[in-house]
Amino acid sequence: MSLSVQVKLPDGSTYTQPTGLFINNEFVKSIKGEKFESICPATEEPIAAVYRAYEEDVDVAVKAAREAYNTVWKETGGVQRGKLLFKLAELMEKHADELAGIEAHDSGKPKATNAIFDVEESANCMRYFGGWADKVTGKSIPLGKDKFAYTLHEPYGVCGQIIPWNYPLAMAAWKLGPALAAGNCVVLKTSEITPLSMLWLANLIKEAGFPPGVVNILSGFGKDAGARLASHEGVDKIAFTGSTATGQVIQQLASKNMKAVTLECGGKSALVIFDDADLDQAAKWAAIGIMSNQGQICTATSRIYIQDGAYDKFLQAFKAHVEEEYTSKQGCPFNDTHVVGPQISQPQYEKILSYIEIGKKEGAKLLSGGKTPASLTKGYFIEPTIFADISPDMRIANEEIFGPVVACGRFKTYEEGLKYANQTQYGLGSAVFTQDIAKAHRFASDLEAGMVWINSSNDSDIHVPFGGVKMSGVGRELGEYGLTIYTQAKAVHVNMGSKL
């Protein structure tokens, strides 16, 4: 009945961690019965072993979701769907501390300065989409006396959702909220690196009153469970957040039954600072833009371009701020003063360090960081790292590092700054700092990016659409846009008098 283990957190508290696959509101063993371990990135110790879903388990979950859709969820009106989402938000707030603890332990996010805010945002996201649930409307289209046409904005049916490890709870909320509000049933696969918080949340989903089969949560790996979900003929839509390379694979797998695809992939977002910018504020926002969440943000503004006149002054302020507010506040996620935790895993840790070596070899100037902190040899810790004097062709100026490593360079003119900003294959986020309102809006319009922050960075909000252009993705999440991508329009034509 209940598959679980007791887990002790670094703050001394213990909690019951479910380990099964969550299907039809029950935790079950996987068919093969195999488990895999989730590692704590701050200590490199295993936390718990959870059941691993393979293809056959995905099949079971998809079947459960389809059954729930056909027999119950399809008939459940928007008012009721909204009520359930409101209830879930309430429960998440009630258990915020527990959720933040699990998230911090499994993902390395500092509990007090990072994880707790993710939980808050996730609850708000459920509540926000709960408010949309009874407001999914189509149009009636006037066509004269002989014809009446209207559109129904229908749910897809069964949606597959594959989420990453950098914001386990929040990424789930961004996906579940709109999908459920729009009337879909879901099979959600967590990242194999961070399966724990969503399994615990599954209890709240059941408590909130969602009928069995509406939300199914599987722990598993991309190459089998994820691939099966993306190609499954019983799944009507796949939503994926992760790397661009995997996103491309998902898009191809989805073509098997032409399922709808939305992708939130990688980025190498540019933050452009003009001479007239408030440099002190720019330094602070730039730090948020790359050093938050250990740099593991798809929209990280990981390239900073500073106009000639402000170059030295900005870098000086930026380095000082990063070292004071980030580098010196790095360590165990359960210490409330820490702002920077470990990177998520051994492979990520090695990848970031190798990019740091590449940066040095390419001739970029290392201004700060660049190595493992001396006092933190256990756990995947890397110091906040600043490179300066980059040139456009450097690998560290074009490739996504996904760690606390920023590449800074200079530019002369508006055109040059724009050219550098738009040079990569990506187009997710971007930021511009200037006090000149016309320049700001013009630049925003010229940037090739799904999001532009004017005088801030990574200042996202669930009311505002989020997503990328170019190789950064397809579709938008959050805001009303995030709701509509979980619906499809059916046009109904009523013949009112055309006789042949």
Binding site: V79, K83, A133, H463
Partner: protein, 502 residues
Amino acid sequence: MVTDEYPLTVHIKLPNGVEYDQPTGLFINGEFTKSKQGKTFEVVSPSTEEIVCSVYEALEEDVNAAVDAAENAFKNTEWATQDPSVRGRCLLKLADLVEQHAEVLAGIESLDNGKSLFCSRGDVALCSAYFRSCAGYADKVDGRIIDTGSNHLSYTRREPIGVCGQIIPWNFPLLMASWKLGPCLATGNVTVLKTAESTPLSALYLCNLLNEAGFPPGVVNIISGFGKTTGDVIALHPKVRKLAFTGSTATGRHIMKRAAESNLKKVTLELGGKSPNIIFNDADIAKAAQNMIIGIFYNSGEVCCAGSRIYCQSGIYDELLVEFKKAIANLKVGDPFDETTFQGSQTSQLQLDRILNYIDVGKKEGAQLITGGERIGGKGYFIKPTIFGNVHEEMRIVKEEIFGPVVTITKFETVDEVIELANNSEYGLAAGLHTEDINKAIDVSNRLKAGTVWVNTYNDFHSSVPFGGYAQSGIGREMGIEAFDNYTQVKAVRIKIDKKKA
């Protein structure tokens, strides 16, 4: 009655045993206060004619205090400018609280208005559902970005209007309060709401829930009073920028004049109706009869969109009338607190007299009294469900709104004929039509001049669906996404953008 001795809270025991504390003051700036002159008026229970309690009456100086409190909340606090999801959360909490206090609220409503518990419970459920629906919209009042070329950034904002005056009627006291408060508060406005003098109690009870839900002081102010004194002051007030009124067409016309005379405050009106309920030959007769019952006898017929003119196609006329009379015979009219009662009392002596007078008029005009037509008993304002037949279109009982359990029934032959009959009215609030033929349903719906057309149902509301009148039945729509347009004004912003080189 002039006294400043009257307590601000009175303990009341409802006929079904539920006990509660009834606030009696004016709710201004988050607190209950006595009126400045200490004036009060009596509240009567229409099903027993007994005095329930008194409440304080707002006169001009009290209205001014309420408006000042509202203006202060709008201008000097962050109510209108903060993250709008905070407003949404207050409304969500309010919805939950209404649900928690459902039995008390339903009891107050039945005591004060005389409607059956069956009706008042329905009202309370619709009320909390509506608050919840508005809550979800608070942080979604988006404008548009409009592409006019790269030399400009052009966009619209939808901003709150400011201090709203809201005047509600006595037929659905709590529900009408929710229809007014919901969209007003979701969009960041503040309000002074006046209840009807015959039914002030449930809204005053709601005030405690408003505080508990976290609405800051001054955002909602609720005052009891009379139209000529209290209501008129609100309608003329220079600081009130928007007025929403539900009530009779005559008063609505007056309100609109006052708005124009004063400061051209924006006006939305939900007024009277004389809605046609049309039954075609191919309708399901049993279901049609049930919908006719709901259409005219629900809420004792005190419904603005009541289906008070029935048009029945000749092919089924006799059969339908038999079915209708049978259904009426099964209706329980009586004590609102009896769980089996469908129809309670009328709301006041005034209403009782008005309806009985119309019944008299009908008889004098030569209409045939098919059933009912008289008061029930001597205590409590109860009237028998009443049908008049053999009417013609010029009769007063066919043209004028009676606002009670009195319906006329007319035979018709063709679709064109009934559409003309149905549309022959100064009103245009609602209409019902019953048929199994989808083409007829859509075609007739298209041609009826009414703000709501019900097909094979009646008085069938949903918070997501807009409601309001054509012609002299009103201006603007309540509920649905349309309601929020009443409480926002569009600001267009055009920013000139010059091309920069550096």
